[in-house]
Each structure stands twice: as C-alpha cells, then as structure tokens.
C-alpha cells in the first residue's frame, strides 16, 4: 500500500510539471516522469512476493512466477513512449525555429 502511494506521488510531481511550467522542454520532462510512474505501477501490480521471473527453467518446474501480462503490456508501452517523446521534441524544435523561444506564453502570433 505504501509503495503504491510513493508511485502516486511520483505521478503527481510529473503532473505538477506539466501544469505549472511554461518551458516546453520542462513539459516534455514532466510527461516522461508520468510515463515512468505508470509503467512502474503496472509492474508493481503484477509482483508476487518471493516470485521468480517469467522464464521457464531447464531443470525444474517453476511455479511461483510473477505475472507476465503487465510486463508484456508495459514492454510495448516503453517503445511507444520513446516515439511519442521524439514526436513532441520535433514539434518543439519547429516552434523554436519559428518563434525563437521555448516559452509557451510568448507564442501568440497565429499565422500559418
């Protein structure tokens, strides 16, 4: 229970960064922290005390494995998060090229 709460606090730090900061790179960093905490939360839900990693052994029959399903879901999520980070970074680079700043309050001119 305590460990879920720590994970939630990590999520809230990322949320604070996304909502409060005005620099685009800080917002991307906040998004990254939110992704980390969500991945960790999924894997924490599938952990079994004194469990073993979900790979069969050659000599013995392993019974107390941890849950492989959250790990499979998170494995795809990690790679997607990298692609999404690259997409947001490329948009930020274009914004810097066009307006000369990373500050989101200075971006007011709306022309194509």
């Amino acid at each position: 229970m305590m460990i879920y709460l720590l994970c939630l606090i990590l999520f809230c730090i990322g949320l604070y960064g996304v909502l409060r900061k005005r620099n685009i790179v800080k917002i991307i960093v906040g998004l990254g922290i939110i992704e980390y905490s969500m991945n960790l939360f999924f894997v924490l839900l599938g952990y079994r005390t004194h469990g073993r990693s979900p790979i069969e052994a050659r000599t013995e029959n392993v019974l107390n494995m941890v849950d492989p399903l959250p790990q499979a879901v998170v494995l795809t999520s990690i790679v997607i998060s990298l692609a999404v980070t690259a997409l947001v970074i490329s948009i930020a680079i274009r914004i810097y090229e066009y307006y000369g700043t990373f500050d989101i309050t200075k971006i007011k001119r709306l022309k194509g």
Partner: protein, 149 residues
C-alpha cells in the same frame, strides 16, 4: 572507410567506434534471435541495432552513417518490417484464424522452436530499429540544414 577528417569527433572516439560498432550490431542481432528463449526480444534488440547506427553517426558525422543506410532505404526497410509482420498474421488464416501459429512448435530451449515467433521477432526488430534510426536521421539533417543558412 573514407571520410572527411574534420567531421565528427576526435581521433580517439573514431578509433574506439571503429572497433566497437560491429560488436554492438552483433549483440543486437543476438538479442533479437534469442528472444523466445532468454530475456530480450524484438523491441530491445531493435533499439540496440538503432543505437549502433546512432553511435556511428555521432562519431563520424552524418555523411558516413547515411552512406551506410540512407533515409530512403530506411523508410523502405521500415515498411518491409511492417508488411512482414502483417503477412505472418494473415498467414495464420491457413491454420484457422488471424495470428495462428502455423509452423510446428519444435522442442523448447532450441533456437528454431516456437513456430512463427522467430520471424515475428525479426520483423519487429526491423521495424523498431530502422524506424528509430530514421527519426534520428531526420532530426540531425534538420540541424545541419539550419546551420548552413
């Protein structure tokens, strides 16, 4: 390996890169092929393959790396990976429905076991690795074009 001596980093980095980049690529291929019998798989191996090309580009400049694998070839290879994955999925209709493992299972703990899983791993690694390398190439080419102005 002919290259412009001014591009890229210093001579120490270039020499070490020339020695290690092949080993990194080989390790990525090992991780991909042994994905069903040990930790690893298509995603991790694909990112390691992309990192070997990124390593080459950071050390030697973008010309050497894009001569090895240009942007058009990278885009085409990524499409080939996606189509290969879809084709394996559609081939499952021979066994009944979508995504059915039609090849024989083999004995566990052997390299050629688990049916289509090895081919799936290769397709995913092609897609992930070349896709991420294409992203990095696009970012670097944009930076270079801006400095020329």
């Amino acid at each position: 390996m002919r290259h412009n001596p001014d591009a890229g980093m210093s001579i120490i980095v270039k020499t070490v890169t020339r020695l290690t980049v092949g080993l990194i690529l080989l390790f990525g291929i090992y991780i991909v092929l042994h994905g069903h019998i040990s930790p690893g798989g298509g995603f991790a191996g694909g990112v390691i393959i992309a990192l070997s090309f990124v390593h080459l580009m950071l050390a030697f400049g973008k010309d050497v790396a894009s001569r090895k694998l240009s942007k058009n070839i990278a885009s085409n290879l990524e499409a080939v990976g996606a189509l290969m994955f879809l084709l394996i999925a559609v081939a499952g209709f021979f066994g009944g429905s979508f995504f059915v493992n039609i090849l024989e299972k083999g004995t566990p703990f052997k390299l050629f076991s688990a049916g289509t899983m090895l081919l799936n791993n290769v397709a995913i690694s092609l897609k992930v690795g070349v896709g991420l390398f294409a992203i990095f190439l696009a970012l670097v080419i944009l930076e270079g074009s801006k400095k020329k102005k």
